[in-house]
């Protein structure tokens, strides 16, 4: 068997591993095995690549390669291991961004190395696509990271004529790409790279924190396509297949995620959701009265209830309050109160994020109820304790067709006997929409950090 055939075979096995990984990750039963299959495929592909004469031929380059990998591993493993579960989404964003950056660099380097004048046009098109999409993915992911890490505001950043500016920059990038295609000039390519980075930034700025997860999924798909473009440039079936798999499945996943939020993808990307309504929201709350309770009042309410639903949201995730929530649930259960958690599919920072957080806090599995399972229970629930959530329990999604979240499935806490909101302030949720339920007579509010409020409730329940 020739070396070329052997290489193709090993790469084929790796590709099968990647397909099994995606397949496995889409069912709860096989998720972990799937991820392992992907990792094994990756290890095989990378390990075999070392045996290629063109890769290990030059010992100087080989040493550089090993040093770069050692540095990468030394950074990535501690970063991925030590990061808190609540910070996972931004970790995914940053690992995705560097992948896009690597794809862009491969394309740039190949462009420089191309023998001039003799290149087919499609070769340059592939390079340009890799540079453009890889760079957008890199800078876009960096901004997404900054938003989720709260280095910058999670609110949409808007300015006058934003859509026009974005369109002009987008057109500029395309024009520059054509110019680079015609002239095959390296300086133009560098300018294209820089402008693509700018495009990634301004594309992400108007997208609000709650929508960033969908954006990360989209950028993940972009990186896949950039990798596929690098595969065309390098004549590598392996890169084309793996990149395209991620590109296609990422697109589908992005659509599924926006559907779970009851929104369309263009609406998420271009509407600067949540920036406009914010102002009017705080206005409205000024002239209506809300009832805020003391921890002791609420503690008594909870302690003497028969059935309590805890509805965790983004605020719980931010305050790292999942352990305290479990303590409260245990304190209530000790008094004979039936407690369950009602989990909205998009509660937390990403779809499915809340399940992960609560599992980390050792919440018993049978207390977790998905939305469809929890909603029928609400009518017989005495107290719904909403911890740092707002939009996912906002009845406006059912009642007011004009509302931006109209049509989004919600947890029907308004059907419970009493509703308690633990909130940091009267500020509306991520969607920036006021919640009528806050002004309902059966609603009590407790202001403060979710974790502090919950621990106050734990002691209040103990003394009730």
């Amino acid at each position: 068997m020739s070396r070329g055939t052997a290489t193709d075979l090993v790469y084929l096995v790796a590709i099968v591993g990647f397909i099994l990984a995606l397949k496995g990750l889409s069912s709860p039963k096989h998720a972990r095995a799937g991820n392992l299959a992907g990792a094994v495929g990756m290890l095989l592909a990378v390990g075999w690549t070392f045996s290629l004469p063109s890769v290990h031929g030059d010992s100087g380059d080989l040493i550089l390669m090993l040093v770069a990998m050692a540095i990468g591993i030394a950074i990535a493993i501690p970063a991925a291991r030590l990061v808190k579960m609540t910070a996972m989404p931004q970790m995914v964003a940053i690992f995705n961004g560097v992948g896009g950056g690597a794809a862009a660099l491969v394309s740039v380097t190949e462009f420089i190395a191309l023998p001039s004048k003799t290149i087919a046009v499609y070769k340059i098109v592939e390079v340009l696509f890799g540079v453009l999409v890889g760079s957008v993915s890199l800078s876009g992911s960096a901004i997404a990271f900054a938003k989720l890490q709260e280095i910058m505001t999670g609110r949409p950043i808007t300015y006058p004529a934003q859509q026009v500016v974005n369109a002009v920059v987008g057109a500029g990038v395309l024009g520059l790409a054509v110019a680079t295609l015609v002239t095959a000039s390296t300086p133009l390519l560098v300018i294209l790279l820089a402008l693509s980075l700018v495009l990634g930034v301004i594309f992400v700025l108007p997208i609000g924190g709650a929508d960033v997860p969908v954006l990360i999924s989209l950028l993940n798909s972009f990186t896949g396509l950039a990798v596929a473009a690098s595969g065309f440039t390098l004549n590598s079936d392996l890169l084309i297949v793996a990149g395209t798999l991620v590109g296609a499945s990422g697109m589908l996943l992005t659509r599924m995620m926006s559907q779970a939020m009851g929104r369309s993808l263009p609406n998420i990307l271009f509407s600067a959701f949540g920036s406009v309504v914010t102002a009017s929201g705080s206005e409205v709350s000024g002239d209506r009265s809300v009832r805020s309770g003391t921890p002791d009042d609420i503690g008594v309410l909870l302690a003497y209830a028969r059935k309590v639903a805890i509805v965790p949201g983004y605020g719980l995730a931010v305050a790292q309050a999942q352990h305290t929530a479990r303590e409260l649930a245990e304190a209530l259960a000790d008094r004979g109160v039936e407690v369950y958690y009602a989990i909205h599919p998009v509660a937390g920072r990403m779809p499915g994020h809340m399940n992960v957080l609560l599992a980390e806090a050792n919440v018993p599995y049978d207390q977790l109820k998905e939305m469809d399972e929890a909603n029928p229970e609400m009518q017989t629930t005495d107290v719904a304790l909403v911890v740092g959530a707002n939009d996912v329990v906002n009845p406006a999604a059912k009642n007011s067709p004009g509302s931006p979240i109209y049509g989004m499935p919600i947890i029907n806490v308004e059907q419970a006997g009493n509703v308690v909101f633990l909130k940091r302030s009267m500020r509306p949720g991520f969607a920036g929409i006021d919640n009528d339920l806050l002004y309902d007579p059966k609603t009590t509010l407790l202001f403060g950090d979710a974790k502090e409020s919950l621990s106050k409730l734990v002691s209040a329940v103990a003394s009730a």
Binding site: F18, A21, L22, K23, L25, S26, S27, P28, K29, H30, R32, A33, N35, G38, A39, M42, V55, D61, M65, A68, I73, A76, I77, A80, R81, M85, M88, V92, F95, N96, G99, G101, A102, L105, V106, V108, T109, A120, G224, V227, S230, G231, F232, L238, L239, I240, G243, T244, L245, G250, L253, M256, A260, P345, P351, G352, A359, E360, Y365, E370
Partner: protein, 123 residues
């Protein structure tokens, strides 16, 4: 390049269909792990960066290749480790209920449970 550009385009189109079909129905609790897992898979660009660095002739190409290998390594290693940590959280649930072997029997929570690593979480 025996197949020529058309051969690669064929591969591209077929892979696009496979990618689309293979994740046809994903429960929402797995959206985040799936995104993270596919993020790790496009780390295959590492192979591309290795080839580029292997071909590098000038110091500029070497520098670009070096950075590219570094970034791609971050993507691969970080991607798989983060995904594994997420999935480990799902595994933890049946174990809590006292099933000694933690045989993931529950439909919703699943996941193989052979691994005995202890990082992440305070179980």
């Amino acid at each position: 390049m025996s197949g020529g550009i058309l051969g690669y385009v064929t591969v591209f189109v077929l892979a696009a269909f496979v990618g689309y079909e293979v994740i046809s129905k994903v429960p929402s609790i797995l959206h985040t792990p799936l995104m993270s897992g596919s993020n790790a898979i496009h780390g295959i660009i590492l192979v591309g960066t290795m080839i580029v660095l292997g071909h590098a002739h000038t110091p500029a190409e070497q520098a670009l290749g070096f950075v590219a290998v570094l970034l791609a390594t971050l993507n691969v290693v970080g991607g798989f480790v983060v995904t594994d940590r997420m999935l480990e959280m799902f595994k933890a649930k049946p174990a809590d209920r006292g099933a000694a072997g933690a045989r993931a029997a529950h439909g919703e929570s699943g996941g193989s449970s052979a691994g005995g690593s202890t990082e992440g979480g305070d179980r």
